[in-house]
């Protein structure tokens, strides 16, 4: 389950905690890796790949989150860099990212950056469609309209429209973007699950600016992960399995 149990991406805020928890985490991670050595040792040197950000070492396993020392409520801590907070928040969220969606992103990376392909636009379902479907799903499940989810989904759409050209595109997709998204057109009406998924990768970074209070942040994370699970459940229908090989304009030759 995606329960953060008082451990949040702000737990690292206190300077004196930072070192303690890092040492603890390294120990715990090593213990866990031993006990799960059948699976994990195949990917060798996992712990060695973690950069010494000081915060991310134990995030790879759900068990770790529960066993970590629960901290006090966060208060704003002067003197701790936002950079550290941002990095720790990213790693925590990433550790709960569904693995098939991670694979989807790796495939996506390969299609675009290695094979020079692009997603065929416009997509169906679009980001707008997908978010609406999720709200529908949520409403059915809860048997009522959930205001929190509604607001979060609005927030995601808002982020998507701004973030797409700013941080969600690979270089090779720039040309297509300038061709497909002109004037007033919202990216959320053109792009689909592939790019929405990339937004989720950037969410911790974006949300760091909100400076959210700990409890609300925990709840938000749970809801965001629920949305990811929805994407995962519908992975076959939402995501493309094949991309176009360089659409009309990418080689400088326009079809129209």
């Amino acid at each position: 389950m995606f329960i953060f149990n008082g451990y949040s991406w702000d737990e690292w805020v206190t300077n004196d905690r930072l070192l303690k928890l890092t040492e603890e985490n390294i120990r715990k991670q090593q213990e866990l890796e031993k006990s799960q050595s059948a699976d994990k040792s195949v990917k060798s040197g996992r712990s060695s790949q973690h950069k010494p950000k000081g915060s991310n070492d134990a995030k790879t396993d759900k068990e770790d989150t529960k066993s970590l020392v629960k901290g006090k409520k966060r208060k704003s801590q002067p003197g701790v860099t936002e950079e550290k907070e941002r990095k720790s928040s990213e790693s925590l969220f990433m550790s709960h990212f569904p693995s098939t969606l991670k694979k989807q992103l790796v495939d996506d990376w390969e299609f675009v950056t290695q094979l020079g392909k692009v997603v065929k636009l416009p997509r169906s379902p679009t980001v707008d469609d997908i978010l609406a479907k999720y709200l529908e799903h949520r409403t059915k499940k809860d048997n009522k309209i959930n205001d929190s989810y509604a607001e979060i989904l609005k927030g995601l759409r808002c982020y998507f429209d701004k973030a797409l050209p700013a941080m969600l595109l690979y270089k090779k997709e720039r040309q297509q973007y300038s061709e497909e998204v002109k004037g007033d057109v919202s990216p959320s009406t053109i792009y689909g699950a592939e790019h929405l998924l990339r937004l989720f990768v950037k969410l911790p970074e974006l949300l760091a600016s909100v400076n959210m209070e700990e409890d609300a942040l925990n709840k938000l994370q749970q809801k965001l992960l629920d949305i990811l699970k929805f994407l995962q459940k519908n992975q076959n229908s939402f995501f493309l399995s094949a991309y176009d090989s360089g659409s009309k304009g990418t080689d400088g030759i326009k079809a129209k």
Binding site: D39, K40, V42, K43, R46, Q49, T60, E90, S91, M94, F97, S99, K102, K103, L105, V106, W109, D147, S148, A150, E151, I152, K154, G155, C158, Y159, K162, A163, P165, A166, M167, L168, L169, Y170, K171, R198, V201, K202, E205, L206, L207, S209, V210, N211, M212, E213, D215, A216, K219, L220
Partner: protein, 122 residues
């Protein structure tokens, strides 16, 4: 019960005589809960400055406010309700978006996947 905005900005007074008719016996609990409500809103704004209610983060800021109030007053708050409450203190239309320039969104950067995505087991 509309409180004039300039009254409230100075700070919360224990009594808000301008709000409820004093003759009504049932108005006292109403006043107290109204005061508590406004107090909580102002507390919440410590975390969520109103200036962020206009930029791209506004929905998440609003979400944070909704959650804060829900937690401290033990009932659901809709987004509209929260906005109405805020409207007592601030002329929301006059707010200028503050943070859009400071976000990483003015210069385009290429998307990149975190390294850990490539190393996952499957």
């Amino acid at each position: 019960m509309e409180a004039p905005a300039d009254e409230e900005q100075e700070g919360i007074s224990a009594q808000s005589p301008a709000q409820a008719p004093l003759s009504s016996a049932s108005s006292l609990p109403k006043e107290q809960s109204q005061v508590e409500l406004e107090l909580r809103v102002l507390q919440a704004l410590e975390f969520y400055p109103p200036s962020k209610l206009k930029g791209i983060h506004r929905h998440f800021v609003l979400y944070g406010l909704m959650e804060y109030l829900r937690k401290s007053l033990d009932r659901q708050f809709s987004a509209d309700e929260v906005l109405q409450l805020l409207d007592r203190f601030f002329n929301l239309e006059m707010l200028k978006p503050e943070d859009d320039d400071k976000d990483n969104l003015t210069q385009a950067e290429e998307f990149s996947l975190p390294e850990s995505f490539f190393n996952k087991d499957d």
